[in-house]
Amino acid sequence: MSADKKTKTGHKKTKAGERLTKIMTDYYVDLHKGANKGKFVVWGAIIIPAELLKGFDSVVFAVPESHAATRAAKALGPMQCEKAEQMSYSMDLCSYARIDIGTAFDGGKGSPTFGLPKPDLLISNNNNCSLLVKWFDVYHREWGTPHFILDVPFCYESQKKKDLNYIIDQYHDLIRILEEMTGEKLDMEKVQEALNYTNEALKHWKRFISFAANRPSGITAFDSFVQMAPILTMRGTPELAEHFKFLADETEERVEAGIFPIPNERYRLLWDNIAPWHQLRKMSSRLAKLGANIVSASYTYCFGSLEGNFDPYHYEGSDPLWALARMQNTTICPTGLGLRCKAMSEAIERIGIDGVVFASNRSCKVYSLMQMDQQKYISEKCGIPTVMIDVDHADVRKYSEENAFLRIEALLESIGARRAGA
């Protein structure tokens, strides 16, 4: 019976959880079908303007990072990483890149989605990291696939106008290239329509993640991590907007009915970094036994938010290229320490967080590099205990559960001791 299905997080699968499986399956099926019918396949980094691609009927969009996360969550990470390592790619490279390279050059073997259809165009950006650009370049070298690189300036304060215009200029180049390669003219109305769907979806996503502020929390970050898949792959579609509405509505109903993922919630934590894909079930159930819930995570705000703010940005104008350029500087990357600290401290206050788990990620240096300073800032500014643990988001070989839990349990004890002493 469907009601008895268990999620990755160990509790009963919600209807939105079941729906997610279906829409993601449909997405991958449609992707392969489209490619088989001769559609133009774009592989893109997660934060490229996916809505722009919706202005071309002939284009389908695949996201290697999201695909790698799916495999890591299904415990296939190490096997795929090893394939890349056997090809002499260093173990120090991001595990998403190793998983993807390992799978791509092995014809998608071992992938639950049969890999991704071969690309006609690669679009990367340096918002997140320069490694991603090099990773996409591997395919450019090996297969001769053209590679368009979006250069997104780093920001230490609000995005500058000249940087925004610089990004828009690059969008015009991208449009020209896509028109030349597909033989199709961009339909800007469809781009606007896609942006409207994304806006609608983000409105509901915001409703959904806001249930973290409820006591006990209406959600766990682990559920949010899993539900992020379509934000990365299906932006600009009505299916995404419908799904997030369903998700937020169902969560609201559950909260109203008094159904909470961790009813005996004693500790409300915030997670900083990419999801530990290989640990979702184990970590959430071990935390649940301790009465702890990671209610929120900076990662779940990594798309659709603007620098210095965790909340998704709601665009109301009618210039899609402007909006898409504006959203290139998100909360996490590429923004400076001051902006990251501002966004996190506001969220801590708003959601009511007792402690922060900074997950130093062996793979994602760009996410992890500032964490030590950020930890110091948050401990001092917000006056709450924090802890740093070692993880790798997709390569379980670089993670030690006992090491991580010793630190997390000590964090919970610190929270408890402060309460007792207060």
Partner: protein, 276 residues
Amino acid sequence: MRALAPGELEHSRECGLTKVLTVGVDSGSNTTKVAVMRNGTIIGSGVTFTGYSAEKSWKRLLEDVLSDLGVDMSSVGRIVSTGYGRNVVGIADKAITEITCHAAGAHFLDSSIRSIIDVGGQDSKFIALDGNGRVENFAMNDKCAAGTGRFLEVMARALEVDLDKFGEISLQSENPARISSLCTVFAESEVVSLISKGESRENIIAGIHEAIASRITSMINRVGVRCPVLMAGGVAKNIGVVKALERELGADIKVLETAQVNGAIGAAVLAAAIEG
């Protein structure tokens, strides 16, 4: 630590007091430690190698410590377990991390202590305490073995010197060798190459202590040292490491006779505080 006065337990029993002891079990990666407490006093403790079975080790050790005190499990009330194997101590009333237990142990033994450096077999920790002995902040080594007891064990093997003699030997050094690698495996090769170049044992060992001290100090500086500082864990017995750390930190470090069982003492103290 105060020894049990003859007849003390018998007297308690005669007064109808059973289960008068509280116990702390620290099941570490390398060694297992036990501390027994009665009426606010630590009356017994012991240390053994953890070996293959953490469960067998703590059970045997606890039986031995209790039998030295002339009692058995029937006198034991609350038990708190700590250490990496804290969850394998099935009979424990509560499992508490070493961080909290070390803080409780140090505060119990000397309430002025504000920082603890604990260097054990598998990890090193720095714990900053507030004025009430509560954990205010802590830092631990990352996955790497550098800065832990394991690092010293590997070096002792390479030098064919008994680890217990490391401290003493290093004090004779006049010119510590420079070990620059942070990685244990690379540092071992550096040591082997120093041996082949004819560098003296005392200089190499002193160099190893400086390397470990500098690694631990960078971890400590993440939190910030505050005095008085106590060193706990098995490595505290190594005077060479303690001296090197004092030089690096520019602060005196207290080492108590109970350094190695500090976490177990803290666990026993916390066991005594469990209500009900």
